[in-house]
């Protein structure tokens, strides 16, 4: 676990323009920078059947810095493809809209929640188990690549479910 964390740190420092520090806190993954602090927490994926061709990734991003953070993409070794989408309800129809970028303005929080913004994780290479952690790399404008650990569970962390 610790070894993996430091490996993640190196990965981030290697490519990160802003010098990202990753900290794994109890049940949540928090990612922050020294100057422009971005906290990503409550990162989770709902449990889906092994035959599901896609799963969603949800999280909350808080910008505690003075500059906007702009999410421009994501990737993972566990999936064929990762896209940033949002579900938009229009006259009873759920449309999935591809988001080229998601801006997290300074001092603001952007939540990826069911029925709204989500990472669309397409083609899992193997089934996701409940309680499992899956790393997704978030790519931000400027080149920062931030690994975030997502927990597979029934609900968002902190909504009353204990991850085994």
């Amino acid at each position: 676990m610790l070894e993996k964390e430091s490996e993640m740190l190196r990965t981030v420092r290697g490519v990160g323009v802003r010098g990202v520090i990753a900290v794994a806190a109890l049940l949540v993954t928090v990612v922050a920078t020294a100057g422009d602090e971005l906290r990503i927490h409550d990162a989770w994926m709902p449990e889906v059947p092994p035959v599901a061709r896609a799963v969603a990734g949800y999280m909350t991003l808080e910008n505690h810095g003075d500059e906007p953070w702009v999410l421009i993409g994501a990737g993972s070794h566990r999936f064929d493809k990762v896209m940033v989408h949002s579900t938009v309800e229009e006259s009873g129809v759920a449309r999935m809209v591809h988001e080229d970028e998601v801006v997290i303005p300074p001092g603001e929080t952007v939540a990826f929640d069911p029925g709204g913004l989500h990472l669309m994780l397409i083609g899992p290479h193997k089934p996701l188990d409940r309680g499992e952690s899956v790393d997704i790399i978030l790519v931000f404008q400027g080149g920062a690549e931030v690994p975030v650990r997502f927990r597979v569970g029934k609900k968002r962390v902190g909504e009353g479910e204990h991850t085994p």
Binding site: V48, P49, A52, A54, K81, G92, A94, M96, G115, H118
Partner: protein, 220 residues
Amino acid sequence: MRRARVAGLGVPAALGLLVVMALVLAAGVWLSNERADPYAGLSPALQAKLWPEPRPVEPFHLVDHHAEPFTEERLHGQWTFLFFGYAGCPDVCPMALRDLSDVRKILARDGLDDEAQFVFVSVDPERDTVELLDGYVTFFDEEIVGVTGSQDEIDSLTEQLAIMSVRVDDDGGSGFYHFDHTSSVMLIDPRGRVIGAFPPPHIPERMAEHFTALRNLGAR
């Protein structure tokens, strides 16, 4: 003379006659209201979800996740919650299936689960085979029925129920595609008629309450 005779009934009898006339009038008004709007007693929130007229579902031929025929006949004899989606849908469908499972558990608690079935119809039959749906829907709830079939038969059902579904291919030419689709849960009555649509968010407690109100209306 006539006037005198009525007067001759005396004041109590005349009042009694008036009361009877008023009751007859009230009953008439009540009956005509009943005929005009069978849903008059339901909450405005529920009435807003109901179609102006129940519409019988015309014949269609699909297959369930046990490879058994699933036709309009399966919509008779019990209520049906019907949702349209696909197994490659990451956000809306798992959410709806979990919500439907929760509705079913609430009805089971109230002893009403025998009166309703929960059905997930694929809008992506090319990829959602019988075997795949078997592994998909039962993960969310063993009691949910997965339905697939030929594109033509699925289209015939979606058209009847005013369900929209559009395939959207990824711009990048990666071969990935998804569907924009109606996210309402359709409610079919035990006579096989569509009576309404529940748009999201699907709050299980609220849906169970609405179902129970409609079911009680039918049982009256």
